[in-house]
Symmetry: C2
Subunit: 202 residues, 2 copies
DNA sequence: ACTACAGTGGACTCCACAGTCCATTCCAAG
DNA sequence: CTTGGAATGGACTGTGGAGTCCACTGTAGT
């Protein structure tokens, strides 16, 4: 079916995914219905099932993919070039700003609980996102090593894993309490400690 | 109504909450129904609505409170007496073990997405949990300061906030990917960096 | 022992919402 | 201009599951 889509079809499909994403963010996954999505995207039920034959779950998964892609895009160009301490700090500011703006909606998080974290499809999307995210952080650390700002002996994997966890935790606390202080503290100390770990090894 | 419960009534109510918690953990919040809970707890629908007049949401909230209490209990007695570096490491091991055992079920997390993170009741429960959790960590840091293992000048709030975020992030990555490496790295480096930050200030 | 109310059983209502189906329109290729 | 398949409209169905209701039972207090 995927190859048979005409230009018009592809456009409609995109409209559905983007509109659904918006609806899900506003109403929350739990209470968003196909009718909401139809209303928002100006489509009929048959269209929904035409483009997503397996129904709601397939659509939710498509939205999850869409949202996952946005996550890293929103951190660019900073995330892609963490080659100086200033770059790290600019990136940190972008992340904090982005998630403060997002407020208490977690497009991705809610999606999993609906589809089921354990669903292979859903799990693959998050795992892939986490992998790429961590890899970007690791690349940043490595470029600091390459320019001598960090010693070569640093455990890049552990450091990038911890940083990723710090972000995730900060965000999830922001989601549930509405406070961004934890995200701030986690990122600030994460970067500070990265720096200090480097100095300690010299 | 709360004060009018007889001993029998209180027992039934408890049975419902505990049984519901088990069902929710097994089936996931999204697919758990009142009928599942009735079957599991050997109760009838009228009992459910007798003890939770506002229906499913009220019951879910009660379960959330129940689960929130377990979280910190499960980390005792370690969390309550973080007065040496060995104690911190024992606590870390308990946390990792607990969440590895829990696997990919997040009793609390899923509850919010169902009830709605923004619901005042739900938010209050998590906020309170986070507050108490962080306070325990802060108390641990302070007791290290008191015995001279950490300098007095350390920013206790920021450190404890970052540690809490590290845990939350590690757990949420464990939930979505099934891997505990991030939780491990976050906790290990969190404790290591705490120690190093102390040494750097001397 | 009586009585009033907590506790319990379970049938019944009601409806929101996913998913189906067929009729109709659009459009590209020949 | 015709024809086949993609794209669309929208009425219809089926059902899972929350919440209601009333009848019955157990029991604590007087």
């Amino acid at each position: 079916m995927r190859g048979e889509l005409t230009a018009k079809g592809r456009a409609t499909r995109r409209r559905i995914v983007e509109g659904a994403a918006a609806v899900l963010r506003e109403r929350g996954v739990a209470s968003a219905t196909l009718d909401d999505i139809m209303a928002r995207t100006g489509t009929s039920k048959s269209q929904l099932f035409h483009y997503f034959p397996a129904g709601k779950d397939e659509l939710l998964l498509a939205v999850a993919r869409f949202e996952a892609d946005r996550v890293l895009e929103d951190q660019q160009p900073y995330l892609g070039c963490l080659d100086s301490w200033e770059a790290w700090e600019r990136w940190r500011d972008v992340v904090i700003e982005r998630y403060e703006a997002q407020g208490d909606e977690c497009p991705l998080g809610s999606l999993f609980f609906q589809v089921g974290r354990s669903t292979p499809g859903a799990r693959a999307i998050v795992s892939e996102l986490m992998r790429r995210w961590q890899e970007s952080l690791a690349a940043g650390i490595r470029s600091l090593q390459a320019t001598g700002r960090l010693p070569a002996g640093l455990d890049v994997d552990a450091r990038s894993a911890a940083l990723l966890a710090a972000i995730q935790g900060g965000v999830s606390i922001l989601l549930s309490t509405g406070q961004s202080t934890h995200l701030r503290a986690a990122l600030d100390l994460g970067i500070t400690d990265l720096r200090r770990a480097g100095e300690a090894m010299r």
